[in-house]
Symmetry: C2
């Protein structure tokens, strides 16, 4: 039954049936969690070899370098080459860091705020009405960084090709206080969108009023394919071709390849931006954990090693995503009160609920023992103007739990949609 | 022969003999390095067990927590308890971080500059003539941090008990733009001084004009005894007793216990400062490498395990320090042109050369193939007002190389002293 065309009486009857079902869930005393984009233990277990790939003193030496000791601010060369191969950039333009690309992003924004960009040297902090573009829905931890540094965040709508480029081009051309844009270009968090070649091209060819405008290119899910792989255009070569080589910073990490807490991250930038970063980093660090970098190099050997490893993750994740998507199909499709994209990779499914119901769905789920990501979390300041988008994270729970969780979730989504529709009948 | 009382003729003859010796060194084409405070491979090899102490998937779980996955911003509890036992503070006041206490210090200063101290909320950056006290000689990387953040650095003379507390007390009471002081309280870099109980007590009882004045307590060498252990007063309890519990931040790490690039660091602070740090850190990080934290916990088991481990380091380091000290005795004592302290621990020997000769000694050593730490490096801005202090780092070279290096070093120290004395004869 399509709720949008159903009569008031039909909806009231439907609601009653759904509430009976909901109350059954409530009576079960469930404890379910679909809130966190964490790999499951089964995925982590695939990296067991990482623990012992360096097991003797002599294993820690590579090309005459003792990775245990001080030095090598930009990471060991074989690790830089591994990420260079993976991201198809020169290794000279790669810095390999510690366990967190998020920290590297934060530190980049911090450096720009305090010291100004390479060759510009005007601290962003001197721009009192500084602003940042935030394609939405997006990643809450990006928004937290720019919020902490006092940026006004501007929502940029997303479609199936990426951010609304007409809007981006217009805004950055007009306003020199717009200093950057957050992008998760492949398998976006939470929708799983891959930026189209045209969108990447237009981003690389932006003509911002701010000479220190920067694209924060968080390529977190570059190899995180679940079904079919999608090709993302190369921001490094696109920016270079556009004469905008200093306009981007790219990040990735092995957080969702090996271990979230104990992986390594990589940073890609132009020659000038690498030099700028190293100069400022030199006061902050002597080196990242090079032993762990070497572990990753020896464990994977090359980019193909990473891709092969990710097939094992995909095999674990696919049944979970399939469960989520099939439940949405079963419950929501005919009712016509929600929308979602089928992601080919990444960690999430974004559910666009009937406008004005996301918070209510979250609350109903919680009351029945299911934790989902907070409504609004995928928007700056936690404010979803439509109160619609909910992020479903299928990676951590087993399929059997996901089945129950999605039955409950969809039931709540239907009930709250009926409530909202009835308000206008 | 005491050079200070010798005749001009005696000095000229002595110089001729020393130059002959120097030229012999030069002819050898030496390649020696006493510049870096790096542990030797033999010391690092003592931590081989760390590599495999976690070798199976299940080893990474502790008290039900999967250390491989996301979360736990302040470090795993057993690691916090390990450092709490070592530093004699409550574990609730310890955060265990990544591989670098230097990075943690930088980030603390950054937070103070950008957001202001706990409960004060006035960014240090708003104080345009901000200043920092620097006991000298000291650690160049501390000075680099406060230089990058635009502090004027004020030299504070050191004696065998620590910084000149009369001067410190007077300055901080008078000037609210003085925001902090760098301290390496035990086995100072480079002199090996241990702050006396009185100095620690007076530091903890400072009455600064700046309500956001902070003591940066870099307890890097807390367990780095070479000959006899010295007891350092506890800054945490001293500050608490003085009603100044928010006035200090303490740091240490296993960089010179296990691996310089791949250890773990710890941060100690008051309840309010821990809460302030975690609140701001939360935008910068999800967690440090908890797998590596657990490696350290399982490898050492408890504080005694660390102390036992450090005895192995001391056995390797003592012959090296003895060589340096015996050469200084042999060459310099009678000549009376240099001074040094005998450190009980730490990583360095500071040589106070005849005033006005440090740069010349550095240059002569370099010309003959011996690299020592740059003259001036132990002072802010690299400027030693007396051109006198040179840092000798005996840890990395084998004893046989140190013997040659010190013969050469002392020869240069004597020649340059004669040159300087002759200027006034």
């Amino acid at each position: 039954m399509n709720y949008l065309t159903a009569s008031k009486e039909q909806l009231i009857a439907e609601r009653e049936a759904l509430m009976a079902k909901y109350n059954e869930f409530k009576a079960k005393g469930l404890k379910l969690d679909m809130s966190r984009g964490k790999p499951s233990a089964a995925q982590l277990d695939e990296s067991e070899g990482l623990l012992t790939v360096l097991s003797k003193n002599e294993d820690t030496i590579v090309d005459g370098l003792d990775t245990r000791n001080y030095g090598i601010l930009d990471g060991i060369v074989p690790a830089r080459k591994l990420f260079a191969e993976l991201l198809e950039v020169p290794f000279e333009n790669v810095i390999v860091g510690g366990n967190s690309s998020l920290t590297f992003m934060y530190d980049t924004i911090m450096r720009l705020c305090m010291f100004g960009a390479a060759g510009v040297n005007e601290p962003w902090f001197d721009c009192k009405d500084r602003k940042f573009l935030c394609p939405v829905p997006g990643y809450d931890r990006h928004f937290t960084i720019t919020e902490q540094f006092g940026f006004e965040m501007i929502n940029i709508p997303m479609d199936e090709n990426g951010p609304d480029m007409d809007m981006v081009e217009k805004l950055v051309a007009e306003d020199a206080s717009i200093k950057g844009i957050w992008c998760v270009p492949k398998y976006t968090n939470p929708e799983g969108v891959v930026y189209s070649d045209e969108v990447v091209h237009r981003l690389a060819n932006l003509k911002p009023a701010a000479k220190d405008f920067r694209i924060m290119w968080d390529n977190a899910y570059c190899v995180h394919t679940i079904s079919q792989d999608d090709k993302l255009a190369n921001i490094f070569t696109e920016c270079k071709a556009a004469g905008n080589e200093d306009m981007f910073f790219e990040y990735t990490s092995t957080s969702k390849i090996t271990y979230p807490g104990a992986g390594v991250c990589a940073f890609v930038a132009s020659d000038a931006n690498i030099a700028w970063t190293k100069k400022l980093m030199n006061a902050q660090a002597i080196s990242a954990d090079k032993v762990n970098q070497l572990r990753h190099v020896k464990f994977f050997k090359n980019a193909q090693g990473i891709l092969d490893h990710m097939k094992k993750h995909a095999a674990i994740l696919k049944p979970k995503f399939d469960m989520v998507l099939s439940k949405l199909d079963t419950y929501i499709k005919d009712a016509g009160v929600g929308q979602w994209k089928v992601p080919n990779g990444g960690y999430f499914v974004a559910y666009a609920a009937y406008p004005g119901t996301a918070k209510a769905i979250f609350a109903m789920c919680k009351e029945a023992g299911l934790v989902i990501t907070n409504a609004g979390a995928v928007y700056p300041y936690g404010k979803d103007p439509q109160d619609s988008i909910l992020r479903i994270a299928p990676s951590l729970p087993p399929v059997s739990e996901l089945e129950v969780a999605m039955d409950l979730f969809c039931t709540c989504a239907l009930i709250t949609a009926i409530d909202k529709i009835l308000e206008t009948k």
